[in-house]
Symmetry: C2
C-alpha cells in the first residue's frame, strides 16, 4: 500500500520536503497542509517586488495545481492543522493522524515544517490596521495596497529584511524610519564595525534610523497614526515589524516532541524528532522550527535561513519516504544585498561568540574585488574570527561592492572543515583573474592579520 | 651582521618573496636580480592592456625606485645571473655566491624564482620578426607596436592566455586564428564539455579556430608571412606562441638541486630545495619553477598560476629571512574571464585524472547565478569530479556568466579538506540572497548528480 506522507507547512522547507519525498518514493500519497494562500516562493524576494524589480507572479515558482499535475503532491491551502497525534498505546496500537478543517487524515510519516512566527513585542496597538509583517506573499500584497495611501513608514527591526525593505521603500519615494533596540544594524549576526557602513549607506539613501530605541507601542484610533519609539511619539502611516522569527512549536508540543533550549524542535542528524529522549521513527522536522547543531561550537544553534530550510527539507522529506540522508551541523552563511552594498557572514559573530562563552581573536583587511590595475574594482573588507584557544576560524564577515557571496561560501567551507587560521594560510587557495580577484585575495590578508593577532 | 638575501627573478613569486623577506627581517640586505626590464606586474593583464582596458603604466604596480625607497630592496634589472654556487667543502668552508654582470654577490639565503619559459616548439622560423610570446610588459609592448602594422594574427595554443588574447585582438578589429594541437580549447585543465561553449562563444565573436592542428613552422623571408598549420600554409602577419610554460631550471641544475619528475625543482613544505635528497638550509624555491604536491593525489603536480606564485613567494621569502612558514599541497584553482563568459576550474580535470590513473565519476548541473525570480540572472553550469574509489571530490569546473570565482574557491576549499561527495551534501552550505544565488546553489545540484552517479 502506498505510504502516506503528510507535510505541515508550505515554506521552503515544506515544499522541499514534499518534492524530495516524491523523488524518493514515486508511489507515496503526499499531502501538504498550509495556512498560507500561496506556496513555493521565497519571502526574501518581497522587498524587491515591492520596489518593482519583480512581480508577485514571478516570485511564485509554482502553484498547487502545478504540484498536483507535475509531482502528484496534494496541497491543501489556507487550512490550519488543528491537532496532530502520534501515540503508541500499551497494547501496541499506534494512532497517527492530523486533523485539519475538521477532517482526520492518517499518516505513516509526518514532516513538521511549521516554520516561524514573526515576533511582535507584547505592546499595545499591534492589531491596528496598518501594522504588517514581511513573511508571505499575501502579507506583501497587503503592504503593497496599504503603501498606496501611506507616506511615512516605520520599520521595527534593523535586521537584513528590515534594511532591504527600508531601501526598497525609500527607492519608491517613501519616508522610512527604522527603529532598532540595539546600538547597531544587523545585530547578532554582524559585528558593529561591519554593520556601520551599511547603516551609513542607507542614511545617504535617505533612510532614517532611531537606534537603541525599543518600539513601545503602536498608536492610533482606527488605524496606525504613530509609533511610540522609546517614549517618543513618531507619526507614521504604517508599521512593519521585522523583529525576528520564533519557532512555531504549537503542534510539536501537542505531539509531545522534545523542545530544545533555544525553543525549537530537537532532531537527530536524520532530522527525526525526539519524544522524551527517544527517536520518533516517523516524525521529521525541517525549516525555521528546527533546532540545529552548530558547526563551530559543540551545541545547539538556530539557522532560520531559506538555504538551510531547503537543505533540511530535502533530508526530512527523503527520510520520510524511507531514505537515510543526514543533515550536518551548520555555520549558517548569509548574505544581504542592500543597493550597491553586499554584506555577508558565516559562523559566529563576536556577539554570538561572546554569548556562547568563546574567547575570540579577529583579523581584518580591506582591498578590492578585482586586481588593483583592473578598472572598476569594488571595495572589499573581510573580517575573520578565530577561537583564541583552538585557533580555529569560527566566523567571517564580508562587506563588498560585489562578489561577497562566493567568498563567504569559501570561508564557510574552511569553517566547517575546522581549519585553524595558520592552516588556512598553508592550505587555502584562491583562483585569480584580474577582472574578478586580486592575485592574493583579501580573504588571505584578513587571515594573515588574524594569525598575527593570535601570536 | 645583516643577513644577505638574494632573490633571482622578479615575477609574482620573486617580488612576493623579497617583500616577505623584508617584512620578516627589517635589517636584511635584500637584492633581486631579474632579466626583465619591469617588475611587480601581473602578466595576466597583458590581453586587457592590448585591448585598451588598462595601460602599461597602470598594470605595473611599483618600479625599482619604489622598492628601494619604500622597502629597502635593491632590484638589478635586465641582468642575467650567469652562475650560482652553493658548495660545502670537506674542510667545512662554504661557498655561496651568484655571479651577475661579471660581479660576484655573496648570499646567506638564496631564493630561486626563476620562473618559466614559454615553450616554443622546435620548428623553423620562430626567430623571425613577428613571432612573440605573452610573458612580459616589454614583450607586450612589442606586440602592441607590431600590431599597428598587422591585421592577420595567428595564436598558437588555445589555453586561457591564448583565448583571452584572441578575444582582446578581435575586439580591436584584428583577424585572429587560434591554432591548437588538441581537440578542445583549454586542454588539460578544462574538460571538453565545459570548454566547448567557450570556443563557440569566441567563434561568435569572430575568432577562428584550427583544432587538432600542430603549428609545424613559421614561414617568411625577413619577417612572418605565414604559419604552417598541420601542413597548410596560412598567411598571417604575426604569430603569438601561448603554448605553455616550462620551468626554467638552468641555475637550479648548476646548483646541483634535485629536479623532480615533472622537470621542476623539488622542495619541502618550507620551500627549501633538496640536493641529492638532503634539504638545503639556505636555498628556497617559489613560482613557476617549483614542483608542488597535489592536494588531491599523493604525488607531484605543477601550479604555474600567479596566485600560487604569490603564496609560494610569501613562504620562500619569509623563510629565507628566518621564519618557518609552510606551503601546502595545491588544488590550483583558476579562472578565466573571456568576454561575457567565465570559466573556472580546480583540482583535477578528467584528463589530468586519467593521466594520474584515477578512476572518476562526474556530476553536472545547470541553473542560474541568481534566484530564478530575480531579473538578469546569468547561466551557471557546474561540474564536479569524484574519485570512484574514495568518493572524494577531486575537481570541479564552472562555466558562468558571473560569479564563477567565489564558487570555484568554495569548491577548492571542499577539495582540499578531502570531503567526499556524500559528506558535501551533509555538511556544505551556501549563502542565499535572490540577487546573488539560488536558495540552493547549483553547486549542490551538481554534487547531488555526482552522488547519484556514484551509486
Amino acid at each position: 500500500m502506498a505510504k502516506k506522507i503528510i507535510v505541515i507547512g508550505s515554506g521552503a522547507a515544506g515544499m522541499s520536503a514534499a518534492s524530495s519525498a516524491r523523488a524518493a518514493d514515486p508511489e507515496a500519497e503526499i499531502t501538504v497542509f498550509t495556512e498560507d494562500r500561496d506556496v513555493a516562493y521565497s519571502p526574501c524576494m518581497i522587498p524587491w517586488v515591492l520596489e518593482g524589480k519583480s512581480t508577485w507572479d514571478n516570485m511564485i515558482m509554482h502553484d498547487p495545481a502545478w504540484y498536483a499535475k507535475e509531482r502528484n503532491i496534494k496541497i491543501i491551502t489556507e487550512t490550519k492543522v488543528e491537532s496532530a497525534v502520534n501515540d503508541r498505546a500499551k497494547d501496541g496500537t499506534v494512532t497517527k493522524h492530523v486533523v485539519a478543517g475538521g477532517v482526520t487524515y492518517e499518516y505513516d510519516s509526518l514532516v513538521l515544517a511549521t516554520g516561524g512566527k514573526v515576533f511582535i513585542p507584547p505592546i499595545e496597538g499591534t492589531t491596528l490596521p496598518g501594522v504588517f509583517t514581511v513573511r508571505t506573499v499575501k502579507g506583501g500584497q497587503e503592504i503593497e495596497a496599504y503603501l498606496k495611501k501611506s507616506q511615512k513608514i516605520a520599520i521595527a527591526g534593523a535586521g537584513v529584511i528590515g534594511l532591504e525593505l527600508a531601501l526598497a521603500l525609500v527607492n519608491i519615494g517613501k519616508d522610512v524610519t527604522v527603529i532598532e533596540m540595539m546600538d547597531q544594524v544587523i545585530p547578532r549576526i554582524a559585528d558593529k564595525d561591519m554593520a556601520e557602513p551599511v547603516q551609513k549607506y542607507l542614511e545617504e539613501k535617505g533612510v532614517k534610523f532611531m537606534m537603541k530605541t525599543p518600539v513601545q507601542g503602536v498608536i492610533g484610533k482606527d488605524k496606525v497614526e504613530a509609533v511610540n519609539a522609546g517614549g517618543v511619539e513618531c507619526p507614521c502611516d504604517m508599521v512593519v515589524f521585522a523583529t525576528g522569527v520564533r519557532a512555531n512549536t504549537d503542534l510539536a508540543k501537542e505531539l509531545g516532541l522534545d523542545i530544545g533550549q533555544l525553543g525549537a524542535i530537537c532532531a537527530a542528524p536524520t532530522l527525526q524528532a525526539y519524544k522524551r529522549g527517544r527517536l520518533c521513527p516517523d516524525i521529521f522536522v525541517c525549516g525555521d522550527v528546527l533546532q540545529c547543531q552548530s558547526a563551530v561550537y559543540d551545541g545547539p544553534t538556530m539557522s532560520q535561513l531559506g538555504s538551510s530550510a531547503v537543505k533540511e527539507g530535502r533530508v526530512a522529506g527523503s527520510n520520510a519516504a524511507g531514505k537515510t540522508l543526514q543533515f550536518g551541523a551548520v555555520a549558517s552563511p548569509w548574505v544581504s544585498i542592500i543597493g550597491d552594498k553586499q554584506i555577508a557572514g558565516t559562523g559566529m559573530s563576536l556577539g554570538l561568540a561572546s554569548w556562547y562563552g568563546v574567547n575570540t581573536v579577529t583579523g581584518k583587511a580591506t582591498g578590492k574585488t578585482r586586481a588593483r590595475y583592473y578598472p572598476d574594482g569594488k571595495e572589499l573588507t573581510v573580517k575573520v574570527i578565530a577561537d583564541k584557544l583552538t585557533h580555529k576560524i569560527i566566523g567571517g564577515q564580508i562587506l563588498a561592492g560585489e562578489e561577497a557571496t562566493g567568498r563567504i561560501d569559501w570561508i564557510t567551507a574552511a569553517v566547517i572543515s575546522g581549519m585553524t587560521a595558520e592552516e588556512f594560510l598553508v592550505r587555502a587557495e584562491n583562483a585569480y583573474c584580474p577582472p574578478t580577484s586580486q592575485v592574493r585575495d583579501v580573504v588571505f590578508a584578513a587571515v594573515e592579520n588574524l594569525v598575527a593577532n593570535l601570536q
